[in-house]
Subunit: 245 residues, 2 copies
DNA sequence: CCCACGTTTCGGCGCCGCCCGAAGCATTCC
DNA sequence: GGAATGCTTCGGGCGGCGCCGAAACGTGGG
């Protein structure tokens, strides 16, 4: 009955995440961006003092890192492992029955969002499906293997595939809102980056949601075959000033 | 700032896990076995009444399932996703700096343990390394691809490889105690099952730790090339009555 | 049928941790 | 230098949650 320390530490980490204000902050950092303490306080809807305490605890628990920049302190997730932990929690949380209350995923998040460094939500799943349908990838539980045709496709799309030739596999994650897999790992990250480069997508400032630009609608139609109407809800309607570079 | 419901539920799930007694119970169930409420109370070192409350909360949160058998109630993890969540937590918990206190992983667990349905700990990592060294698998971040030689090796070992021919890749997990990858996914499960079949390993009753049988020592030496002395600490010293079938 | 046992429900106690306002540092801007 | 800004530290209040013993419930055994 010895194994104490491991249990204790697991519980400690979970307890740190398991506080609404802290969870809100972690989710705000979920796409890997760095935010100053004040903004995180606003995300969690608590005072600066309270937020500071929470941030200290998350630092101690190894969930976040901080770097000073002038009189700001920018916090970000400590590692990709923490992002994975958050995803694992989302999967379980979204499936949990929880008697009455029905879950409502905010439509913006559900349509398209970033998951650390790759695409998720309906858009992420659609990309995965499109590649799978064109035999660019073979999807099975937890991972996807890029085919020879997939290599050419990705190269045409503008992704650097040199590393991919020797290691043609990549991870997939279960998408918590869609309950279907989307591409993660190196390939998922590369596609996400390429979409940003092409300005097909634009992350929101205040959440992990993603907008499609008009160019993105055309591009996803031309390259992946998406019905332009399918992601109409995600087409950017905000002035560019409200979006990230 | 709308996305409330998702945050709330994530925090709820994490809070349920983030309580020492509940975490202890979850870890006791971590290998997928089913245990009655009373035994879980003992694992967590709380009264039956307290344990019952905890179990109710974990049921509500969708972390565990229960089935009645006579006057016992057997609890088990609700799904593989919950097991993955626990692993994610272990990874973060084990890496977290946490000022002074140094982590002590119980040696039994560190040497060999099961992780839901596959091998972990030093033994799990050693199997992964051995396969990798013999070019049976190509390991990269988050996954491993089985080579043609690997297919033959696994077939000789007695694993059913029919499905593997068309889908030659499998997941890897970061081992929280070794900080190195071990095999998960279908291949990891198959190897674990085969080792059980051959009676090379025997799970403990009271934790996820695993013993090697004398046959296991010989077998791992013959097939995977392990130094027999390397896992001497894990060789079963208990009477068989204390081990699971 | 009654008792033994495993489990859950109830009531009440005690502590931990979340919260905020105010004060204390640090940094930048004028 | 002084004032404004961003963040942290301190002190105290309050609510919630985990804990247990006792009692209720349900099942199986004699």
């Amino acid at each position: 009955m010895a194994p104490l320390s491991e249990q204790v530490r697991l519980a400690e980490v979970a307890a740190v995440v398991g506080e609404p204000a802290r969870a809100a902050m972690l989710l705000a950092l979920g796409d890997g961006s760095a935010l100053p303490a004040g903004e995180l306080a606003a995300c969690a809807e608590v005072s600066a003092a309270t937020a500071s305490e929470h941030l200290l605890k998350m630092l101690d628990a190894g969930l976040v890192r901080v770097e000073r920049q002038g009189r700001h302190r920018y916090y970000r997730l400590a590692s990709a492992e923490v992002a994975e932990l958050l995803e694992s929690l989302m999967v379980v949380a979204h499936r949990s029955p929880e008697p009455r209350r029905q879950v409502r995923v905010p439509p913006q998040l559900r349509t398209a969002r970033s998951c650390y460094k790759h695409l998720a939500g309906r858009l992420g799943v659609a990309v995965c499906d499109a590649l799978s349908g064109r035999r660019c990838i073979e999807v099975e539980e937890g991972l996807a293997v890029v085919t020879a045709g997939g290599l050419r496709f990705l190269e045409d799309f503008g992704v650097d595939v040199t590393r991919l030739r020797s290691h043609p596999a990549t991870r997939t994650c279960i998408d918590w809102s869609e309950r279907r897999p989307h591409l993660g790992g190196a390939v998922g990250v590369a596609i996400h980056r390429r979409c940003l480069e092409l300005r097909w997508i634009r992350p929101h400032l205040d959440s992990r949601a993603i907008s499609l630009t008009p160019a993105g609608v055309r591009g996803f139609h031309a390259v992946f075959g998406f019905d332009p109407a399918r992601f109409a809800a995600a087409v950017e309607r905000l002035p560019a000033s409200l979006s990230r570079a």
